[in-house]
Every structure is written in C-alpha cells, then in structure tokens.
C-alpha cells in the first residue's frame, strides 16, 4: 500500500519539536521581560486629572517647596494632598479669574471635593510611610522623579517589590542630607570615594538600618 507520509513529513516532525521548545522557553522569557517594560509598569503613562495642574510652574517658576502643599510628608504616613482651601490661599489673589481654575473655585463654593486620580498606587496590604523615609534622608526625587519637569505627574519608578527591596537591602547610595530632601537636582559627589564616605556618615548620623522584615511593609 502507498505510504501515507511523504519524506517532507520528517521536516514537519522536527520543526514541531523546535516550535514546542521555543513556545515554552520564549513564553517564560517573554513574561519575565514584559513585566519589566515601562508599559507593564505603567511608567510615562499620562493620567488625566480634573485640573491641569502643572508642577513645573509651581516648583520652578514659583519656587514653592513640596512641603507647602504636601504638608504631612514629614509627620505622617501619607504626604497629603492640598485642600481646595490651600489652592485658594494663592489663587484667591492670582489667576482668580482664570477659567482653568474654575473647578477649584466650584469645589470651594459648592463644598464638593476635587477628585484627583492616583498616580502612585500601592496595594492595600503595603504600608508605606512618608515620614520615616523623609527623616532618614530619602529625597522626594528618589521615588517621584523630576516632578519639576513634569507637566502632568507620571510614575517613574516601577514600585514593584523588588524595586523597594533594592533600597531596603542597601539604603546607603540613596541617602542625602535632610536639607536636600526636596531638592530635585541634588547629586552625590562625583568622586565615588567621597560619595561613599558621605553615604557612610549619613547612615550613621540618621541611624539608618536596612529593614527587610516582611512586617516592615506588610501587616
């Protein structure tokens, strides 16, 4: 009887083996890679806000310190989002006719709060506390990036656990003097030796520990 398979079948056989291997291997690798892409981490993602608030302007042009609005960053877990009232501290005088600020005025007079969209979103089982990081010499820019260059705030750090652990396992390189906390431009000394010594005595003076117990963040 005639053969059911032509010799070409051999090729298909071998090819299918290769295919299976690549799909399995590539799948894992792809997954591994995908979660490291800015897209999967939601970086550089423009998030629409109810008000076109421009940090560039407030930080660079007006030289307003972060802590004027985010008053709670040094005292509490949450940095705090300014109340409508606080916006109007200035905007009652300046730009008080600007249509851009209409939603602010409306909120003030109706008493309906402004609903901002959260940019840096941690899972509920992760307890982050601003005050301790600030007091141990971690700058705003370390996690939030160059806010002073952002028309609209976007996420610059993955906020994935491994990212947190990088610093928690070895805080030294990320420390800065407390008076430079809100600085967007501060850099450690170029000379690596100097940088090392600075980091070392910041570790000492601020009594910084590497804290990697689970309950440091998960309770």
């Amino acid at each position: 009887m005639s053969a059911i398979f032509k010799p070409s079948a051999n090729f298909f056989a071998r090819f299918s083996l290769v295919l299976v291997a690549t799909v399995l291997g590539g799948g894992l690798l792809g997954l591994w890679g995908y979660f490291r892409t800015p897209y999967a981490q939601g970086l550089q993602e423009e998030i629409a806000q109810p008000i076109l608030f421009d940090h560039r302007h407030h930080v660079v042009d007006d030289l307003i310190d972060c802590r004027y609005c985010h008053f709670n960053a040094e005292r509490g877990a949450s940095a705090g989002i300014p109340s409508t009232e606080m916006c109007l501290n200035c905007h009652a005088q300046i730009w008080n006719k600007s249509p851009k600020l209409e939603p602010v005025r409306r909120s003030y007079f109706t008493g309906a709060p402004i609903e901002w969209n959260r940019v840096h979103q941690l899972p509920d089982f992760t307890y982050f506390n601003h005050s301790i990081h600030v007091s141990k010499g971690i700058g705003c820019v370390s996690c939030h990036g160059r806010i002073d260059q952002m028309p609209a705030v976007t996420k610059v750090a993955s906020l994935q656990m491994s990212w947190c652990l990088e610093c928690h396992r070895n805080p030294a390189p990320n420390l800065r003097p407390r008076d430079q906390i809100t600085s967007m431009t501060w850099q450690p000394p170029d000379d690596p030796a100097a940088a090392k010594t600075l980091a070392a005595d910041l570790m000492k003076t601020y009594d910084v520990h590497s804290r990697v117990s689970c309950t440091t963040c998960h309770r």
């Binding site: 059911i4 056989a13 591994w32 979660f35 490291r36 994935q160 656990m161 491994s162 652990l165 990088e166």
Partner: protein, 468 residues
Amino acid sequence: MTPPATAAVPADPLAPMPLIAGHPSDAQLNTELLAPIFGPTPQAWKMMVGMAAMGTGLLFLGLTVTIARGIGMWGNNQPVGWAYDIINFVWWIGIGHAGTLISAILLLFQQKWRTSINRFAEAMTIFAVMQAAMFPLVHTGRPWFAIYWLFPYPSTMGVWPNFKSPLIWDVFAVSTYFTISLLFWYLGLIPDLATLRDTAKKKSQRIAYGIFALGWKGSSRHWQHYRIGYLILAGISTPLVLSVHSIVSFDFAVSLLPGWHTTIFPPYFVAGAVFGGFAMVLTLVIPARKAFRFENVITNRHLENMAKVMLVTSMIVGYGYLMENFIAWYCGNPYEAYLFFKTRPFGHYAAIYWIMLACNVLVPQTFWWKKARTNVAWLWVASILVGLGMWAERFVIIVISLSRDFLPSSWGNYAPTWVDWCIFVGTLSFFSLLFLLFLRFVPSVAVAEVKELNHEMQHEKAHAGEHA
C-alpha cells in the same frame, strides 16, 4: 529468572506455566491484541464510558465549587487542616508506583513476565499521577497564587519559594515523575503505534496513528536506538520509584505532629505504594483481560506473581505499622503514646483504623496459598480490599493524627461534605474514563514486546534438544 510455579498441566509438575499460552504466530498476536481497537465498539464499553464521564462531571462540579467559594466547602477545619484532599493525593501517587516498578525495575531485572502487563501498569501510572497532581494545587486556599509563587515568574518581587518546605519538594518530585513516566510509556508505544498505522484499514486511523508513530519503520537502527532509549529511561525512572513516595512521606515525616513525625515513613510509604499499586493493576487487569480475551497473554501466572509481590509488600507495610507502635511505646513520649494506644485503636475513628489493619495486613496473608493466588475472583476482591485499606491508611495518618494533637483544648473531629465526596468519586471516575479510552484506542498490551517474547520462547523450544 521467574520464580518456579507449579503448572496446572499434570504432565510435568516442575515446568513453569507458560507466559504465553499456545504457539500463536505474529499475525495471530496482532489480530488478537489489536482486536479491541479495530473491532466494533462494545456496548458495555459505551455504557461504562458514559458512567465514567458523568462521574467526571462530579469532579469538575466539586472543583468549581471549591474554587468559587473556598476550601470551606470541604469538611476541613481547625485542627484538621488536611483531609480528603491530601488523602487522595497520597493514595493516587501511591497507586502510580506499580507502573514504574513493573515497567522499569522488572525490565532491568529482566523479568519476562512483566511484558504483557507493563502497558496497563504504565497507563495506570500516568492516569493516577494525573489525579494526584491535581490535589497539591486545588487544596490551597488561593490556587491562582500557588502556581504563580511556586514557579516564581515574572519574579518582580525579589522573593523565592521556601526550598526547606517538603511541599516544594513534592512539586518537583511529582512533576518529574509524571514527565518521565509519560515519556517511558510513549517510547514503549511507538512500535505498536507503527503496527497500528500499518494494519489500520481506515485512512484517518492510519494518519492519526502514523503521526504518533513518528515514522517508525522497525529498521534495526530504529530498534537499536529504541532499546537504548528505553533502557536509559528505565534507568532514570527506577530511582524515582523510591524517591517520589519518599518525598511525599516527608510531608509528614518532617513535621512534629504525633503520628507524622516518624523516621520509618519513607520505606514504609514506598512499600505501601507498590502494594496499593499492584492491587490497582489487578483490579484493572482482571476485568480487562476477560473483556478482551487476553487470557493467553495475561495468564494466571502473571496474576499469581503480582499476588506474591503484594504479599511481600503487605508484610513490609505490616512491619511499618508494628514499628510505629513500638517506637511510640519505646520513646515514652506521652503525645505519641496517646495517639497510638488511645486515639487510633479506640478513638472516634477507630473503625477506620481496624479496616486498615484488616485490609492491608490480614487479607494479603491468604496469598501464602496457591489456591488464593490463582483464584481470579478472590484476587480481584482482595485487590479492591487492599485499595480500600491503603486509602484508610492515609486517613488514619492524616486525619486521626491532626484531630488529636498536643493541646486537648484544640482537639476536633472532621466530617467530609458532599463536595469532598464529589471530588473523591470524581477522581475515580476520571481515572476510569481515561483508562477506558486507553483500552479502546491504544494497544493495551505491548504487542511488539509480546511478539519478541513469543519468538524467544519458540526459539528456546526449538533448540531445547541442542542445549541438553
């Protein structure tokens, strides 16, 4: 060499009962052994498949309910955190063992009598392991995370699994075991698939079998590679027979619970596994060989040998029980003593304990007598009893130990719910379903090997004079 068994033929009382009755030709063997595949679909088979399918439905109902609502749908509680889930897991894994033992170890020891039953055994192994492998996953509270964290990809957390935990060892042991068994089974199938391809009438069948036959031509080169591969796999899977169930036994042995914290567990679990496995082979083979008229390739001698293996392993298991109790007494640990001499024999679940002893220790003792070993009906009943006994053993180890541990304040009993039963019955049905399909679509006896054995025997016969 095969143990001498006195034949039923009065002529020569010392001649061993033949492994293949009569002097069939290859063609005869082909037609005979492939009949189930090419023959018409038996009504009984259809009915059984139907029932098995319905039972499998129960399994999926049980699993969906569990995943949708949580482990609370089972009877598990504080303190009995594990129950039917892990009982079934250990039981099925155990059953899986006979397959590898028969096909690999007996092969290496050149036990010819394995030839006509190894295919059954291997299939059974794979299907049993499939049942077992399900439980480590579904017994967790959040299976979706379990997969994710045991194979920690995409690994964005900088945290790895805990390699100190026996559950992790299980994951690796079971998956390895399954892979190897599958390959071993498939490799063995290839020549037969080729035979099927060549003897099939329908084109569809020929293509289907042809694909799986991987272009087997039966050339000497093929045979050579085949042999090497088969031996290598046999070599790899032999240690697995010992390792897998040892590791499963670690789940208990490394804990500090009275009744779990026992150093004898690894050998005793392996023996128990082989014991239960052979029982299951018998439970399956006996009806199958009747249905498909394989009596002259799966002769009573096969059954008898399996009975002997069961007798031996049963005594090892019995020794295990004995040792457990001895140590419980000898170590003078009050918690151990309470469990072994109060809870187990007289406690809330005493009945199950005594069933275990009766089925696993007493029943096989009948196999000292040839009458019992060759009485097919009794063999079948006994094999089922042993299966039951081995299930009871896991119940005794898991549930009873958990229900009475250190602090009397936290003692509590366990009762299964309808979901527990659905899943248990479901796995049995799913297993049967797979096995029925196997019987119908895959040569359930290793045709090529039987033919080979047949030739060897004919040859021996022919040249008997010369060697004399």
